[in-house]
């Protein structure tokens, strides 16, 4: 909370505030323009900022503060791009003096002019850190922050002593370009290990702040207008983060079993923490020590404006839900509006839903287990129906899908029994992902009859790839020696038959052959052509046996809904339980030698009066992702303009738009305005105005 005097606190609680805002615009050429209170269009000035990224509590937020303002000023709007806007709020106190509250330093991103009014959309300096990390650096948080700030041209507000006093403030961390995207990411990671958040403060400097754990202000029910108070508290019983270990991210967890019903804060990957195991555990333990002190009730409310409230402040809401109860709530999001109400949001996870894991959590856990898995995974294939291979088109024989989880060389083997109708070639084509593999055509000449073909391949794959291996085949006619010989033999047979017929004919007509003159007619016979019928190959059902195997492949089994869990409970030491001496008798007799050991069975000994309180066990199971559902339950992850698209239970174009009144200042009486803007809509069917 920005430090203010008691007079200010008294004045800001009055039902009527006398205040003003003024400031300056510094153009890029150094020219300074003043913004006077009367130049600010009523209702146009608002400042929005947050200190957590999503709707759940987290460390390491690096949110960009945003300021919107419309002023009535004659100025070239193009000169305003990148201009610095500094604003201050002045509250008139009881003694007619004024107290100043700086509102922040922002930079114009988008100036828009409408006649005499210029509307400015401005952001704070946090955007200046969106620069890719190129230099690798090692140092303490203060050294790293100093380096980043100098590199990005932003001042650091914290002193070395302040940073060193924070959680994990003196440890050494590493920023590597291949693990950290931008310097803003780097600041986020640093703020995470410091168990705080990063923001641009009212002077325009980067500041790492801790979340307050004690209330700094009471908000009476009179000051609140619209409020929603959660029926649960947000607090934590554990923290989880993934640090770099053996070139990969490995999960580290700290849990306090004595805190019942708390949430587990998943901080995700933090690549700046490296080193020995003890160091990583120490980092996480220190973060957890801070986290355990954070306990608040999520809420959302509007209140009379007070710009001294900062992000991360803990506020006490008095007399909530029409009772005398008070709750502590943490400011995680704040929208301050000049001459309007201030909207404060306190987001936090629901401890009543703590058992529900997000799909991302499940996938990460699954991936962690898979990375450790080195077992050989085997994919097999057999044909489920009879296949007839001809010469006209390729018939699909084998299809095997596989996915890799690490670099590997899968081995592919196939045996294909087939029966040829005629001799000829059989061509086998091996495709990977629909593309013919290099040397992927295998040709085999087969005689008529039964045969089998076996071939082997191996593939070189990178991690996290999915492939489909397909084998097709077709037959090719060839004028083989066999076919030619067969035709020739048939022709010779024809000739012999024709010659024999001709001789018999001559004998029967009795022609004189002693006259000295012999006349022989040519023997006519049929020449048999070579059979050019293309061969066909028949493959019986279930005859093809193909296999693809390797280490580093994803599993092949589809989950059938059955979960089998086995757990071996090791012996449990029970102290203080005495065993009454047991008597054993030994009888000596002559027995045949049957082995080199003697055995005696001691039957179970019942122990009465000993109870076991219970055994806790956790089960982790691998998830099979069977589908993805696009629906409104995931709307927060989707990109669309919710102003124009409804998302209650289905997506559709919004057809109803409401505009509500807000109070504005006037010299006497009271005034409110309903700003109605339909200029961005394609068509308007009706407008209805009502008083509630």
């Amino acid at each position: 909370m920005y430090s203010t005097t008691d007079s200010y606190k008294e004045a800001v609680n009055n039902p009527v505030l006398r205040n003003r805002v003024d400031g300056t615009i510094t153009l890029k050429d150094g020219m300074i323009l003043e913004i006077k209170n009367h130049e600010i269009i009523p209702g146009s000035l608002s400042i929005n900022n947050r200190c957590i990224h999503s709707s759940s509590f987290c460390f390491g937020s690096v949110y960009v503060g945003e300021m919107n303002i419309s002023i009535m000023k004659e100025i070239d709007r193009y000169s305003l791009y990148g201009a610095k806007v500094e604003l201050s709020y002045y509250l008139t106190l009881q003694d007619a003096t004024e107290e100043k509250i700086p509102l922040g330093v922002f930079f114009v991103d988008l100036p828009k002019r409408t006649k005499r009014i210029i509307a400015l959309k401005c952001y704070d300096k946090m955007t200046d850190f969106d620069i890719d990390v190129t230099e690798e650096t090692v140092g303490t948080p203060y050294q790293l922050l100093t380096f980043i700030c100098e590199y990005c041209g932003v001042e650091l507000a914290n002193t070395e002593i302040e940073i060193a006093a924070m959680c994990n403030g003196t440890q050494l961390y590493s920023i590597y370009a291949d693990r950290v995207g931008t310097y803003r990411d780097a600041i986020s990671y640093i703020a995470s290990v410091l168990a705080g958040y990063a923001t641009i403060n009212r002077e325009g400097k980067l500041q790492i702040r801790s979340f307050s754990t004690e209330s700094c202000m009471d908000i009476s029910v009179r000051r609140r207008t619209v409020s929603t108070i959660a029926d649960y508290e947000t607090f934590f019983s554990g923290v989880k983060a993934r640090f770099v270990s053996q070139q990969n991210f490995y999960p580290y967890t700290e849990i306090d079993e004595t805190i019942e019903g708390g949430l587990l804060l998943d901080m995700g990957d933090i690549p700046i923490v490296q080193g020995v195991e003890e160091f990583k555990h120490e980092i996480l333990q220190n973060i957890f020590a801070v986290l355990k002190n954070i306990r608040y009730t999520p809420s959302e409310f509007s209140m009379t404006s007070d710009p001294s409230i900062d992000l991360g402040d803990m506020l006490t809401l008095k007399d909530v839900n029409s009772t005398n109860d008070s709750i502590l709530t943490l400011v995680t999001s704040c929208t301050w509006s000049y001459h309007s109400t201030q909207k404060i949001k306190s987001d936090g996870g629901n401890t009543k839903l703590q058992g529900v894991s997000s799909s991302e959590d499940k996938q990460l856990s699954d991936m962690e287990l898979r990375v450790e898995s080195k077992k050989i995974v085997v994919h097999t294939f057999t044909n489920s129906s009879k296949i007839e291979v001809g010469d006209l088109k390729e018939e699909k024989l084998i299809v095997i899908n596989y996915a890799t989880v690490e670099d590997t060389k899968p081995i592919f083997m196939a045996t294909i029994p087939l029966e040829m109708s005629l001799d000829g070639y059989v061509e086998f084509y091996i495709y990977v992902d629909g593309i013919l593999d290099e040397n992927g055509i295998l040709t085999e000449y087969l005689n008529k009859g039964k045969h089998f073909v076996t071939f082997t391949r191996y593939f070189v794959d990178k991690a996290d790839k999915r492939h489909t291996v397909t084998v097709t085949a077709k037959t090719v006619y060839v004028e083989s020696d066999s076919r030619v010989s067969k035709a020739n033999v048939a022709t010779i047979f024809n000739y012999i038959a024709a010659a024999q017929a001709d001789r018999e004919k001559q004998s029967s007509t009795g022609e004189d052959t002693d006259s000295g003159t012999t006349t022989l007619d040519p023997i006519e016979y049929e020449v048999v052509p070579v059979d050019i019928t293309p061969p066909r190959a028949a493959i019986a059902k279930n005859d093809i046996k193909a296999v693809l195997y390797a280490q580093g492949l994803a599993g092949t089994q589809k989950w059938d809904g059955t979960i089998n869990c086995n757990e071996t409970i090791l012996p449990i030491g029970v102290s203080g339980v005495g065993v009454i001496p047991m008597d054993e008798s030994v009888t000596a007799e002559l027995v045949p030698v049957a082995g080199n050991a003697l055995h005696d069975v001691v039957p179970p000994v019942a122990v009465s009066g000993l109870s076991v309180l219970g055994i806790s066990e956790a089960i982790t199971m691998n998830e099979v992702v069977v589908n993805y559902l696009f629906n409104t339950t995931k709307r927060q992850k989707y990109s669309y303009n919710s102003k124009y698209v409804t998302d209650d239970d289905k997506f559709s174009l919004r057809t109803e738009y409401t505009f509500e009144s807000t109070e504005q200042t006037i010299d006497s009486g009271r005034m409110c305005a309903v700003p109605i803007d339909v200029s961005d809509l394609a068509s308007v069917q009706s407008i209805e105005v009502g008083v509630e």
């Binding site: 990109s639 289905k650 109803e656």
Partner: protein, 364 residues
Amino acid sequence: MANYDSVQAIIDAGITNAECLRNNVAQDDGTDTIQGANWFSFKGVTCVNLYANGNSWIGFGSSTEHLKVNRRDAKMWYLYREEGTLYNYYNFIKIRWSGYSRYNYTTEPYKLTYDVIIFDNGTIMLHMIDIPTSNNDGIYALVATSTYTYTVSSTQPDVTFYNTDVGVYDLAYEVAKVLEPYDRKYLIRSDGALYTVTDGTLAALEQTALNSELFATYGFDDLPSGELLQPLSKFDLLYWQDSQDELPSIKATVMATPHSQAVISNAVDLTHSTITGIENMTADCEGDLIVAVSFDGKQTWKAWNGTEWSTLSEEFTGMNKETLEAITFEQWNLLYQGADSFFIRISFIDTTQSVTEICADFAN
């Protein structure tokens, strides 16, 4: 004559400031005449007198059954009258009728007590105090130009009839809302200029500086109609009151059609080790589905045209439901090779379209 600061205060005062006209004397089927007022008219008749009947009805200006409150064979035992002012401005008369819903019973289940308050703005309000649990079977109605029947209960004891025209009323189950007597004015601001409403049309003012005097001089009294506002595209409806009282909440509801919109999913992760492809997709939607997919981080959007994947050049185009659901595993396989994720884009170009769910089944 007492003055009150709210209607609720009039109700809460009970019979404290009232004159007792009938005190524990039964009135069975007869009618008592009560002094009315020149400032109140009912169906165009000035109500010099009011009439209270033992069978639980009130007559305004004539001995006629106008307001029936469990009107049956009842009996009145007490009758009170109070005349006063509200906000030192409005006149009112309150009548307390007290008796039993059955003429020959005087036990608690039959007790019937109510106040009828008439205001000089024509409003009639009924406030029930004792609602009988026995013989509560009479008629509840206001007979004016039309007959307005109503019901009452312990959780809904107040009924107000707002006079909107001669003999015409709006019925509301609430304590009468009587606005405090100060100016309430409206102006419209658009493009820096101010407008008032004259003869049903917008008229621009020369003045541009807003102040209370401007409202008092040029402001108009009633909320503007939608037809009047519809030609404006960007404007402020301004309301001013000559009081520091809490401002009312004014809401404008616009029925409109936006320009075409797209909803783009988050990156659908395909890196999970159990996913080996997309088997098919199905859609639960109404109207025309327009869907496209991107496997290159939203750089290009693609649709299956029946023979191949084509790149879409226009923003709000894509496949229909039939095409999407007919895409086979092999056809999906052509597109997603090498991608770690993909995006789904649904386009909306008219208000008949809605999408409840798109399901992408993975091959495992």
